[in-house]
Symmetry: C2
Subunit: 163 residues, 2 copies
DNA sequence: AGAAATTAGATTGCGCGCAACTTGAAATTC
DNA sequence: GAATTTCAAGTTGCGCGCAATCTAATTTCT
């Protein structure tokens, strides 16, 4: 410690408590957990020829078909720079169709093809496999999920209130 | 529900409980929380000219200088395909030096430059800002962090036991 | 109605993140 | 001690993820 006395400057207080340690940072826990999920999903999604964000788009369309690109982006926190090429790849794979909304030509409507609808059946076992890999009870995982969602929403609110 | 009777097939059971809903999946909570962290960090890291993974590398070097690339990769769960160009950019920015280990020419040792060491002072306030943005007590965040780390390790163990 | 502002999406550029492969050095094996 | 194997790092290719910019359609304002 550079200043052993009781009156330390603010930066020294931070340093002394080790806040800049990798292991103490929740952001790295989340960052590395996201990568860990990706690695678990990889073999499952490879069998369907999907990437993880593509799978997220299909999850939303399986819940409600015919959403707009804007709506997908709001739910997934992704912008057009990410979604436009991603959706084009899903279209090229024959899983979705993209078409401008007749009433409002600005909107891009995304609808599942027959093949895209059928893929859902093959994804049904995935959640159970993920829960198994996570090695915790579904109840515990649901609790943890809610806490992480609350954290995400708090972070998101902080960013958006900066307008 | 396609089959209202008590004896349902396994896929139907999964479907009925809504496991394929985006909102019910912990993986998406983690995925979106990671992006939310990135957005909060962005303005902080921009002021230092760093990206988030570059910041993670510096965190490790500030803890212990002169690590090998392999060691950095093990701590961050990143491989050479990601780290080699990342470290080259940090070197081009004048924050680190890369040099082969004299005793074992396979190892790439990474050491901080004066500028790289100095940058630590400017990063000291970051953890407090993140805690503030997360809108929860440091104790609660530390608890949540530990649970996420446990989840990550369980997922990681599942992947690595497949050899 | 016409001008200005807003909106949804497309495009470009850059930095990850990872799979697959290559290179060169060290350790093992025989 | 020479051949094989293992290991760390580099390279290539592709798909995000996001900032910045552009285009075209709609809405708002006057």
């Amino acid at each position: 410690m550079p200043e052993p006395g009781p009156k330390r400057s603010l930066p020294d207080a931070c340093e002394a408590e080790g806040h800049l340690m990798l292991a103490s940072q929740i952001c790295f826990a989340v960052y590395s957990a996201a990568h860990a999920f990706n690695r678990v999903y990889k073999p499952l999604l490879d069998s369907l020829g999907l990437t993880y964000p593509q799978y997220l788009v299909l999850l939303l369309l399986w819940e409600e078909d015919g959403r707009t690109m804007k709506a997908l982006g709001q739910r997934l926190y992704l912008d057009s720079g990410t979604l436009t090429p991603l959706l084009k790849r899903l279209e090229a794979a024959g899983l979705i169709r993209r078409a401008r909304d007749a009433a409002d030509e600005r909107l891009m409507r995304v609808t599942l093809t027959e093949a895209g609808q059928d893929l859902r059946q093959r994804a049904l076992p995935f959640p159970a496999e993920i829960v198994c890999a996570a090695g915790q009870s579904p109840e515990k995982l649901a609790e943890l999920r809610d806490e992480i969602v609350a954290l995400r929403d708090a972070l998101h609110a902080t960013v958006s209130e900066r307008e």
